[in-house]
């Protein structure tokens, strides 16, 4: 038998191995705890706690010091202690009072009882007495008894009353003292509230300020193992309700843990702290609990993108803003791009992309300057014409119509323009299709020259004539110059012969580029076309944004003379190559061979005349380059645009972006790819060399990248990339979006309409816009000297009016009528409100925008009623007389007393034009409604002694003393009664022609010295 004790292993050895392995196991277990305990975010929280303690201590110190200095505080403390002393002294008194009260209560009860009993007795006696009176028996002396008792009862009654009043006195004494103490305490609490708040905050974070028990708790709560219960240092997170992370095949609720390290993000006071402790830079707008986007509802990655669940620097998918930061992060934080997360955090320069997914309706977007610029550039450059984005679906093509091109310019100009637009106009928005990196070698140049010739040929052969009325006025250049500078042309156009080296693109700067830079027109357009266009742009191109300025024939001729005088000699001298049939054949063959066999192509070409070939190639090329996306071109009606749709471009997977040969040169991010694509669209047709130069890929002509070059500045490209990164497919629940109230919809729709039609090129609304002001200043400088052009209030008064409060201001039916039949309102203005051919629905949209913005809804209002016999009307007459409104305002045909420089609207128009309620708002403080206006607040004697008012202003005005609104309404009544001529334009014209504006100018000869 085998020995039981026999083992195949040595127990001792085994025990040893077991002991060792359990020790190892234990050590690992400990290490796991240690590792788990030392999570990297913890050190940030510990560091931030120190910062916070220091900050609160400092605040508390400052607050306490301020309190000590505050004489109010010291006085209150003294008063309170005095009052409390008084209270202790009075305590006995008070006790006594309370005792007294008890006694009095008893006495009251007793007296009341006695009184009630006596009253009952009295009633009995009364009955007895009355019975005896009518001989129904009863007591003989009931009368006497009754009388006696009655006196008694009255006495008890008085006793009760007296007791009650004594009680009331004592009680009121007590109340007084208590009230005094309460008041003192209250005002002290108000003063010290901040102080005690800080103290309370400090006791939560600062161990030194804690009670002993809390101090222990503070240590224990964060001990290993038990720190799961209620630790101070913990992963903080926000679950963003309704939003999901798109994980390709599934969605996961969005959870953001960023604030685990960015501990100070929602706490004011850490603006200057180092990262990750900094306060959010726009706390009142985003993140702050009372802001429109509180942290608890929106989290962080809903706007910034990134991986919200991460709690380490790498796993959160941070994105550096520049290479320098990237290198620093690599070194200090072990950062590397996180390839496995499709939506890494947007780098700082593109942060505003996050705004677009919810606020795509507005223009501009408040607090999002870069994104707004992106929207502005995208629309101005006409990106939407080739790349569909729903927001711009309703817009007409961004470029001019080419239907009647032959009536506007000539073939040579057209050829040179298409080949290199910026050689004619340095800042044109027409992009360069040629002379790019991928089509500039000598062979390419030869071919593209012939391509442009072919396209030109097609455009001219398909053009139909533009018939204009024959205007045969001789124009005066000088008058034309003044007109261009003063009529308002410069709200949309510049005249800028040389590039501006300091050009800083902005939404406002682009407003003056609504129309082309009006240089060298003498080299481009023919006079007859220009006259017709100036007189009525819609007659040439019904979809043009250029409005009708109601120019007279003479004005149009003057402006044409001025604009045509400027020529570009260098451009004029550029040579136009002659047609090279063999190249044209090759081009045509490239297109023909898409459909035909080689031999068929050859035969077709043999059958074609050269002009046919040019036309054929031209048409195909226009289709190929997509010219028709931006311009109306015959034969391309209804064709789809050639670019990819960008509706959800920001959500495109990065794997779908072809970095071609540029993996090492362009950082592997979507935004860097977009930047390269916009900056130099042909980049991916090129192959970079090590020395910074590049080679061109071997590509057939028709396969080359066709996206043209816009010559944008870095700032503009960054803005466009911001917008593209914002075009995402994220599904946002309604609860997170701005509420789609009718007012919101009207305002956003109006904002876009106003932007597209460049209303803010001339007008300012709530401080935004007014691009024309610089032109007004230049005009003023010319007619009235630098002194006047530097006077910003004068510049404002000669610029198109501010449209603040326009919805509250004007009667909507008047406004609609006026939009459609513009007439003079401000007699001193040279600048002219143009006539637009908007439909009445479009105008209604504008009116709805103004009204919704001002909190009104489109409602009918009763006309203002008044009587010319009323005190109010008569008083109004006196107020206007004293206020001398006639100094500046027309009263019908009656001219203002002062020079034209000061003139203001005809008051006869007011009753049809303005709303009475707004007039009161306006009269109360014109400067708060329209900052900078020359209108003074009318003086009304509301605060003066009534006798003075009667004496000076008359009894009617005196009726309204003390009531500002009623007094101001007297002016409304008076204006509603004012009758007279509405149209004063002829009077104005005659006056300004004969007497000028009366500017106070500084003449050159004021210094007798001739040098001045």
């Amino acid at each position: 038998m085998a020995d039981n004790q026999e083992r195949h292993y040595n127990i001792l050895k085994l025990n040893r191995a077991f002991a060792i392995s359990s020790l190892v196991f234990f050590a690992v277990w400990i290490l796991v705890f240690v590792y788990d305990f030392q999570r990297p975010w913890k050190k940030y929280q510990i560091e931030f706690r120190k910062l916070e303690i220091e900050k609160i201590r400092q605040d508390l110190y400052a607050e306490s010091a301020a309190l000590e200095k505050n004489s109010n505080y010291n006085q209150l403390v003294e008063e309170l202690s005095a009052a409390e002393k008084k209270l202790t002294v009075r305590q006995n008194e008070l006790d006594e009072i309370v005792q007294q009260l008890e006694i009095l209560d008893a006495e009251l009860y007793k007296n009341n009882q006695l009184y009630q009993f006596a009253k009952a007795d009295l009633d009995v006696l009364k009955y007895e007495y009355e019975k005896s009176q009518f001989g129904h028996g009863g007591s003989e002396n009931a009368g006497e008894e009754y009388g006696g008792l009655n006196i008694h009862v009255n006495k008890y009654y008085l006793d009760v009353q007296e007791t009650e009043s004594r009680i009331e006195t004592v009680k009121s004494q007590e109340r007084k003292i208590r009230k005094y103490i309460d008041e003192a305490k209250n005002s002290l609490t108000t003063l010290t509230r901040e102080n005690s708040l800080l103290k309370r905050r400090l006791t939560k974070v600062d161990p030194e300020a804690m009670s002993f028990a809390n101090k222990i708790g503070n240590i224990v709560r964060d001990l290993p193992v038990i720190d799961f219960i209620d630790p101070y240092y913990e992963v903080k997170q926000v679950v963003v309700k309704g939003l999901e992370e798109d994980l390709i095949y599934m969605g996961m609720p969005k959870v953001d843990r960023c604030m685990t390290c960015h501990v100070g993000i929602d706490k004011a006071g850490f603006e200057d702290a180092p990262q990750p402790y900094k306060t959010h830079p726009k706390l009142d707008f985003i993140v702050g609990p009372s802001s429109a986007h509180p942290l608890s509802e929106f989290g962080c990655t809903s706007c910034h993108a990134g991986r919200g669940r991460g709690t380490r620097f790498y796993t959160t998918a941070h994105s550096p803003n520049d290479q320098e930061t990237a290198h620093r992060w690599e070194k200090e934080l072990g950062w590397e791009p996180m390839h496995y997360w499709e939506n890494p955090m947007l780098p700082k320069r593109y942060t505003e992309a996050g705004c677009y997914k919810c606020h795509s309706g507005n223009m501009p977007l408040k607090e999002a300057e870069t994104l707004s610029l992106g929207l502005s550039v995208f629309e101005k450059a006409g990106c939407y014409a080739c790349h569909q984005v729903d927001r711009w679906n309703d817009l007409p093509k961004p470029g001019p119509s080419l239907y009647h091109l032959a009536s506007k310019t000539n073939k040579d100009w057209t050829y040179k323009w298409i080949f290199e637009p910026r050689s004619f106009r340095h800042n044109t928005w027409m992009p360069h299709f040629f002379k790019k990196g991928n089509n500039s070698d000598p062979e390419d140049l030869k071919r593209t020259e012939q391509e442009v010739l072919a396209m030109t040929e097609y455009l001219f052969s398909t053009a139909t004539p533009y018939k204009t009325a024959n205007v045969d006025y001789a124009g005066d250049q000088e008058k034309g110059r003044v007109l261009v500078n003063s009529l308002g042309c410069k709200g949309c156009h510049q005249i800028q012969p040389e590039p501006d080296s300091e050009y800083d693109p902005s939404v406002d700067a682009i407003r003056t580029e609504q129309g082309p830079n009006l240089i060298s027109l003498g080299s481009k357009v023919n006079r007859q076309w220009l006259l017709g266009w100036l007189k009525n742009p819609y007659s040439y191109h019904p979809d043009t944004k250029m409005p009708n300025l109601r120019l007279s024939d003479q004005e149009a001729a003057d402006i044409a003379a001025y604009l045509l005088a400027d020529k570009n000699k260098t451009f004029d001298q550029l040579a136009v190559p002659s047609v090279n049939e063999s190249i044209v054949d090759r081009i045509s063959a490239d297109f023909l061979s898409q459909l035909l066999r080689q031999d068929q192509v050859a035969r077709r070409l043999e059958d074609m005349e050269i002009s046919e070939k040019l036309n054929y190639a031209g048409e195909k090329l226009i289709g190929n380059y997509g010219c028709y996306s931006c311009h109306n071109i015959a034969g391309f009606e209804g064709k789809k645009p050639i670019g990819t749709s960008l509706n959800v471009e920001g959500s495109k997977l990065i794997s779908k972006l072809d970095f071609a040969f540029w993996h090492d040169e362009i950082p592997h991010t979507k935004w860097d790819w977009f930047y390269a694509k916009v900056d130099k669209p042909e980049t991916f047709d090129l192959i970079p060399n090590d020395d910074g130069t590049y080679a061109v890929k071997e590509l057939p002509s028709l396969d080359k990248s066709r996206m043209p070059h816009y010559g944008l500045t870095d700032k503009e490209i960054d803005a466009l990339v911001t917008l593209i990164m914002g075009l995402v497919k994220d599904e946002i629940p309604e609860s997170k979006l701005p509420e789609k109230t009718p007012a919101y919809l009207a305002v956003t729709k109006g904002e876009r309409f106003i932007h597209t039609n460049n209303c803010l090129g001339c007008h300012k609304i709530d401080g935004e816009g007014g691009a024309i002001w610089t032109a007004t200043a230049a005009w003023l400088g010319e007619v009235a000297g630098s002194e006047n052009s530097e006077d910003i209030s004068l510049v404002q008064s000669f610029s198109p009016p501010l449209l603040n409060t326009e919805g509250r201001k004007v009667q909507p039916d008047w406004l609609l009528d006026w939009f459609q039949n513009v007439s003079m309102i401000r007699p001193h203005l040279q600048v002219r409100m143009p006539s637009y051919d908007f439909t009445h629905q479009e105008w209604n949209g504008v009116i709805d925008y103004f009204q919704s913005k001002d909190g009104l809804s489109l409602t009918y209002e009763n006309p203002h009623s008044f009587s010319q016999a009323s005190n109010s009307y008569l008083a109004g007459q006196k107020v206007q007389e004293e206020g001398a409104c006639i100094n500046c305002h027309f009263y019908g045909a009656m001219k203002p007393r002062q020079d034209a420089l000061t003139w203001a609207p005809n008051l006869v128009l007011t009753k049809e034009r303005l709303r009475p309620d707004w007039l009161i708002e306006w009269f109360n403080n014109p400067q708060s409604v329209m900052p900078g206006t020359k209108m003074p607040a009318p003086y009304i004697p509301v605060d003066e002694p009534i006798n003075d008012v009667i004496e000076y202003w008359g009894t009617e005005v005196a009726t309204f003393v003390g009531d500002t609104t009623a007094m101001l309404y007297t002016l409304v009544d008076w204006m509603w009664g004012l009758e007279g001529v509405e149209d004063v334009s002829a009077i104005v014209k005659a006056h300004i022609e004969s007497q000028g504006y009366g500017f106070i100018t500084e003449d050159e000869d004021e210094w007798e010295d001739e040098e001045w």
Partner: protein, 246 residues
């Protein structure tokens, strides 16, 4: 007077001397004064056309002229606002309560009197209308709040004040466009406007060195470091460079 040298009197005097010397060493409020002149040939001020308002014409015995450069026979320049810009080693600390006395600007003959004026933050500024015509007083500050108030002929006085210090800004009348004045607002009382002879005095300054600025509406401004008690802090203005024509 005969002095009886009792010990007491000697002691008293010693104390007085001690006090006096310490005051002299540590500070006695002092003045900065000087004269502003214009170097060069002055232009003749142009006549103002006021016929738009007959009241204005009637209120002027002498035909009124522009006021932007007024010199006396020694080229002393009137209407220069001289003020302490900052202290170099002197003291500008402390809260200065505005003086009780209101500053005054009058609309007289459809001109502002004075033409240049300094006021303190919070100081009352009485605006008078001596003309008996309708004026509007339109202040165009950048820091303070803009206001534009009508003053009909019956309104003889109106009071305003400014809440923040601000470099001189224009005040104008939109009804009478030739009317213009300039107001500077200071958070201390150390400013003065030169009189007819171009001289000014800023008094009550703690000893030390101050940066003084002399500001003129058209000739620009100049600064200098000035020690309190120095003989005179004079400034000379010249014709400004010809502005570039476009």
């Amino acid at each position: 007077m005969v002095w009886i040298y009792t010990e007491e009197i000697v002691n008293n005097n010693i104390i007085k001397i001690l006090i006096l010397s310490s005051v002299l060493t540590f500070g006695f409020a002092g003045d900065i004064q000087g004269k502003i002149t214009f170097d060069g040939k002055a232009p003749k001020m142009k006549l103002l056309r006021m016929d738009a308002d007959p009241v204005c014409v009637a209120n002027n015995e002498v035909a009124p002229r522009k006021e932007w450069l007024i010199l006396d026979e020694n080229n002393g320049l009137k209407n220069v606002l001289v003020f302490v810009k900052e202290s170099s080693t002197g003291s500008l600390a402390g809260d200065f309560n505005p003086t009780e006395n209101p500053a005054v600007i009058d609309q007289n003959g459809c001109m502002y009197v004075p033409h240049v004026l300094g006021v303190m933050v919070g100081q009352k500024l009485d605006i008078l209308n001596s003309d008996g015509t309708m004026h509007n007083i339109h202040a165009l500050p950048k820091v303070n709040k803009e206001f534009n108030k009508a003053m009909p002929r019956s309104k003889k006085r109106m009071t305003v004040q400014f809440d923040k210090s601000e470099a001189p800004f224009k005040v104008k009348c939109d009804v009478h466009p030739w009317m213009g004045a300039f107001i500077g607002v200071f958070d201390h009382p150390y400013f003065a406007v030169t009189g007819d002879d171009g001289s000014y005095v800023i008094s009550g300054l703690e000893p030390g060195v101050y940066v003084i600025e002399a500001w003129h509406e058209k000739l620009g401004s100049q600064t200098a470091n000035v020690t309190v008690g120095d003989s005179a802090a004079n400034f000379t203005f010249t014709k400004p460079k010809k502005p570039k024509k476009k």
